[in-house]
């Protein structure tokens, strides 16, 4: 039953991605600005324009371009089927290489943000659900509503002003490492891992130091909805029949709480998935405050520069990751609660 569910979801996911790719392909070709203009800035004669068009492959009919992009014409150029996302018109590097460089930055940032938010939110949410109506519960409730309504880019700026400009505790918001430091060889793309792999503890410490403020901002903003959700689900679980039975059977409170927590996590999965998917591109705000150079900034740059292959590549990759995350969480949910797979 479960395997059929997984296979069905996977197939649907592939179809969704394909539909999305084709939709985005046509959508960005309606964009009003001509990417060719970038190349003819110095010399805008008709001949130069035609030359640039040919170079970008824009003189072919649209369906031919689509077929080539999908990989249906392997003799002419590599496409999606062959694993190629095309070449960026701005830099000339392959889109896949650029995404491989930028994506880990964002993943590192938001994964750390979620981890810390979880580490804070779950105990707090649990404790406040165990003592409902108390002062701590009210405080936590207000905090969760407040934190979840904050503009994270503004808090990022505030943190920079207070912790860097005034107190000097944090490094200047210049990126993942100080500009004086040569980054280690990019093995995984995750700075923390790569510095450890290179054996440079000093660079690891520096990377961690640079991550403190951006991760703190994300933790703050994410903790709001997560606490709220954990608290709510915990309270619901604590009010359910099996907890009533466990209490009646005389189990200690800590064990009952643990059971309730497990039951509370299942419905939380969906929200986590949605939040994670949102943060993939939503992190662009924090990324740009701290000059981190993640996938969001890459997406923004590509859209502003009308770099068709890059836009297509980024949309595809981000959506694919989001869908994959949903699928994963739904599978987890189905494992916990078999009713879902039906």
């Amino acid at each position: 039953m479960l395997s059929r569910y997984i296979i069905r979801r996977l197939l649907i996911g592939v179809v969704q991605l394909l539909g999305l790719t084709v939709a985005v392909f046509f959508l960005i070709r309606i964009l009003p600005a001509d990417p060719v203009s970038r190349l003819v800035g110095m010399n805008a004669s008709a001949e130069a324009y035609g030359q640039a068009q040919r170079q970008l492959g824009l003189d072919r009919p649209v369906m031919t371009q689509l077929a080539a992009y999908l990989g249906l014409a392997p003799g002419q150029e590599a496409g999606l089927l062959q694993g190629s996302l095309g070449t960026s018109w701005v830099t000339g590097s392959t889109v896949a290489a650029e995404i491989a460089a930028y994506l880990p930055v964002t993943l590192e940032l938001i994964t750390l943000g979620f981890l810390f938010a979880f580490a804070v939110a779950v105990p707090v949410g649990m404790l406040s659900a165990l003592r409902p109506g108390g002062r701590a519960d009210k405080g936590v409730f207000v905090y969760s509503l407040f934190a979840g309504s904050q503009p994270e880019f503004w808090w990022g700026l505030l943190f920079v002003y207070v912790f860097f400009y005034q107190l000097g505790w944090a490094p200047p918001p210049l990126g993942r490492l100080s500009p004086m430091t040569t980054p280690p060889d990019a093995v995984t793309g995750f700075m923390l891992i790569d510095t450890l792999l290179a054996g440079r503890l000093d660079k690891f410490a520096e990377a961690a130091h640079h991550l403190v403020l951006p991760v703190a901002v994300l933790t703050f903003v994410l903790s709001g909805p997560i606490i709220k959700m954990v608290r709510q689900n915990m309270a619901r679980a604590l009010g359910s029949d099996f907890v009533l039975y466990a209490n009646a059977a005389g189990l200690p409170r800590a064990i009952v709480a643990r059971y309730a927590l497990r039951a509370a996590m299942a419905p939380s999965m969906t929200l986590i998935g949605i939040l994670y998917g949102f943060m993939l591109s939503g992190a662009v705000l924090v990324e740009s405050v701290f000059s981190l150079g993640g996938i969001g900034q890459y997406a923004v740059r590509s859209v502003l520069a009308f770099d068709y292959p890059a836009i297509q590549g980024v949309v595809l990759v981000i959506t694919a990751i989001s869908l994959a995350v949903y699928l994963l969480l739904d599978i987890l949910h189905a494992l916990i609660d078999p009713r879902i797979a039906y």
Partner: protein
Amino acid sequence: MGNRLTSMSIGAFLAAAVAAPVLAQEILILAEDVPAGLNYDGPTAAIPASQQGMVTLMEPLVGYAAGAVNDTGVTLSDFATFEGRLAESWSFDEATLTWTFTLRQGVVGCDGATFNADDVVYTFARAKSVSGAAPIGWFLSNVGSIAGFGVEVFGDDPAAKELGDAVVRIDDYTVQIRQSEPNQLFLPVLTIFGLLIFDKETMEANATAEDPWSHDYVNNTNAPGFGAYCLDTWTKTEEISYVANPDYFAGAPDIDRVTVRRVPQSSNRVVVLQTGQAQLVTGLTPREFDALRSQDGVSVGGVVGNENLFLHMNFATPPFDNPLIRQAIAHAIPFDQIIANGYFGQATQWMGLVPSSYPGFRASAQFSYDPEMARSLLAEAGYPGGAGLEAFADAFRLSYVAEKESTLGPIANIINTALLDVGIPASLDPLPQTQFGDRQLVKRDLPFAVNDQEKPIGVDAGYAVQLFFVSPENGGINNMVNYRSAAVDAAWAAARVMADPVARTEAVGAIQDMLAADVAWLPIVEYKTQWAYSSAITGLRWYPDNSIRYADLTMAE
């Protein structure tokens, strides 16, 4: 006797040993971007950061001599005097329109290749092949009227892309280049980054069957040439580093190693310079330069070069076809307030339509801020107090490049307020760079804009006229405002091929008077090109492409 000699020699040896080792000098430069490509015929040719990489690694045939040093310590260029770079000397035969260049001997490139006439011929052959994403090399050759570089190369005939006999190798160190007509722009275009000389051996070693002119190599790996520095490491969008070329023809550069790191936000660049970790930063806002000027240990050098700001009003969009409206707006701009609040005093009002440092400049446009006159001109045009102009509200949307919000934002806002003050229904419309460029140059339908990115690459007033003010049908390829004047076209057609420099200068001056009378552009200011650097650095020199040559720099211990 023996002891004395021994002790003297020991002493001399010790003295030499102590004096000999000089620490390798390294500097770190922070810039908005690092080269995205090193190919002047490639997709990134128009990007200043990429041009900076090209001029560091490659050398032109000819350059301008150094001029005076200004009050901030920056050396200017003497545009009246050419000096040989890779070429040692040259002569011109008027009868056959042929230039004969005697090339410098003993010049060695980073990959060990020796410079000779083959490299020059290769460079021009590559330019004529128009095989890259952007035909800059061809364009400059065309502007300089080198024979054979016409628009026919873009046709289907492969023979039109062959170099032919326009550029001919006479012997290892002599090259002849023939023009198709007398054109004073020949030597100026040779100084431009779009005709830097490639190292033929290394280029051909990295060519492939699909890419015989090595565009992919130069776009992504290296630009082999005979410049002052050799490429050490290059990570696009992060960092590029160069090491000095010890065999550079003008002597090994003082600074042994230059690293340029990308730090996109200008305020971040300021912070690092202040801590002393970087030695030079570029691309700051006027405000930031102003703040650094008073700081110890930091020098701010600036020069009024070819950077300017003007108001773009499209003749093809009503009501900008009405001369009275153009004149009215010309008197509604608060020049002094823009200089004070937009540039912190580091600008002067622009009195003409070509850069004032260029040969042939005439101060033909002298507008003053006079709101009363602006209002009366509007009334004369039939719009008293601006009544009736609401119908053109879309035309009065003042555009500017959105990425330059921090510099152009305040200026656009000041102009917006000033226009509203005299009754013009202005509003703001920042556009992303690519869209701005597309509407400005390709579609030419941008009605109203503030523009600070037009820096004519050819150092000549006539070049600017040809580029911007000749009608598009007659060669004005960057004529973004759709200005069409038969008189200007005719005057330029004559001036372009005048052999007598004095007559040419007079003719070009007369053209500038016509342009000012029509308010073809509304010149606002010429602002200083500035750099902020550690006080230990001297020798900075300004070049018309606004890239510095690291070989000019010296750093005190």
